[in-house]
Amino acid sequence: MSARASSAGELSARRIGAMVLRYWYLLRSSWPRMLELIYWPAVQMFMWGFLQLYISSNAGFFARAGATFIGAVLLWDILFRGQLGFSVSFLEEMWARNMGNLMISPLRPVEFIAALMIMSLIRLAIGMVPVSLLAIAFFGFNLYGLGLALAAFFVNLILTSWSVGIVVSGLVLRNGMGAESLAWTFMFVLLPLTCVYYPVSVLPAFMQPIAWALPPTYVFEGMRALLIDHTFRLDLMLEALALNVVLFTAMALAFVALLASARRNGSLMQTGE
């Protein structure tokens, strides 16, 4: 007698839980993996924090600008580490040559993606919570003092990070491990374009529409408005959310198309280079 059937199209919290458990077991068994989650955010935060201390003591504007650098670093890490948390969990299956087992199992792509999103939150929490506490201790910057604005920033950044994670996963499934480097580098294209450390007005005129087409730009502009002008720009957050919904839908559709293409060209059988 086989295991109980689930009807077609039915999502299973148990299957999602199984995948989260699988990644948690892996994370728990490997201290270098755990350390890596905290290491880079901490290094970044300290570097920009000390730079900001130096600049703020020499420039009137930045003295007023308060903690924009550290704020930008922490928010950028939510964006970057959120995507990395998603993509690394996905890549673990490729590295472990386990993708074949998953692809012939009842685990649906949407459940797999849901598990990867949950893991990205867990990995982000492991890395960012200690680092945000260090920012309070060393630089007096309290990320949590942003209150509801932080929630709006977080939702928008994590949605963008998942969108990028989803499409990169689709590209790796379709093209094999040759596309792995995208997981590590893709987000850096957004670093200059989303104006993490400077306002959009700094960009040349022809680049500004590109910047405004990217949801994180609204978050970083919103952060500067909050920290410099002490104004919460709800309009920016809503625009970012609308763009994120479009982006997430487009990337999810791209993933479905890439997965279908991978089934057609047999790349799910060859999960190597």
Binding site: R14, L26, E93
Partner: protein
């Protein structure tokens, strides 16, 4: 689900990769409870055929039905009743054997999972290995773990791709015994791709021989031996692989 008297039904199945015809219009049907060997040299199309049966690869033409479900379109109707084992697919190495079986048991919605893990660990002599990381096991132990994973959901359809490759003769024989027991106890349908003729002769009640994407022959082992006038399946395989079958036919 449509009731089908056949466990697996393959019709005019074709897979073309760019200019390569990996599988070329093959037809066969497997009855429930049967165990069939899929033989063929490297590049004969065995793995691609199995991948299409599992819904891992979309056919270029033709159809595959598993327990009445059209693959890959309706795969989620039947995947929980299937499973697969191959030495070319690994289990997560840092997870212990128990953790691996738990994760896959949850994915397959296995009821009474703790009990099932105990049961399958006893069957595959894994009790002492349950808390060891999968990556620290010998190849024989890894194969046993992979087979335990493949049987964790008590599949009605079991697909095996060279299940005893890289095993010593004693362990390979032991594994064949477990597979025979499982098939008899559960009336499971087994499709076994192998290069090991001893294995196929021992386990299979039917053999499909593939060459260059096509089925060259399809009969019970005893019939094949008689048809080719040979004493072993290995000799039959060599005849087919080297084209002697056609030479004999032409001579006749």
């Amino acid at each position: 689900m449509a009731n089908s008297p056949l466990a697996i039904e393959v019709q005019h199945l074709t897979k073309v990769y760019k200019t390569t015809r990996a599988v070329d219009g093959i037809d066969f049907a497997l009855a429930p409870g049967s165990i069939t060997g899929l033989l063929g040299g490297n590049g004969a199309g065995k793995t691609t055929t199995i991948a299409m049966i599992m819904g891992l690869v979309t056919p270029t033409a033709g159809s595959v039905r598993v327990l009445g479900a059209d693959m890959p379109r309706q795969r989620y109707r039947v995947l929980h009743r299937m499973n697969f084992e191959s030495p070319y697919v690994d289990m997560p190495m840092r997870l212990t054997v128990r953790q691996n079986l738990k994760v896959f048991g949850m994915i397959y919605a296995v009821p009474d999972l703790t009990e099932r893990i105990k049961e399958i660990a006893a069957q595959f002599d894994l009790v002492d290995l349950l808390d060891r990381p999968a990556g620290k096991l010998s190849s024989g132990q890894k194969t046993r773990v992979s087979l335990a994973k493949a049987l964790i959901n008590r599949p009605d359809i079991l697909l095996l791709d060279e299940p005893t490759a890289s095993l010593d003769p004693d362990t390979a024989d032991w594994v064949r015994g477990r597979l025979e027991d499982y098939r008899l106890d559960h009336s499971a349908t087994v499709l076994l791709a192998s290069h090991n003729m001893v294995e196929v002769e021992r386990l299979c009640d039917r053999v499909i021989i593939m060459k260059r994407g096509r089925i060259e022959d399809d009969a019970p082992p005893a019939v094949l031996l008689e048809r080719y006038g040979r004493h072993t399946l290995e000799e039959v395989f060599l005849d087919v692989a080297r084209g002697r079958a056609h030479l004999q036919e032409a001579a006749q």
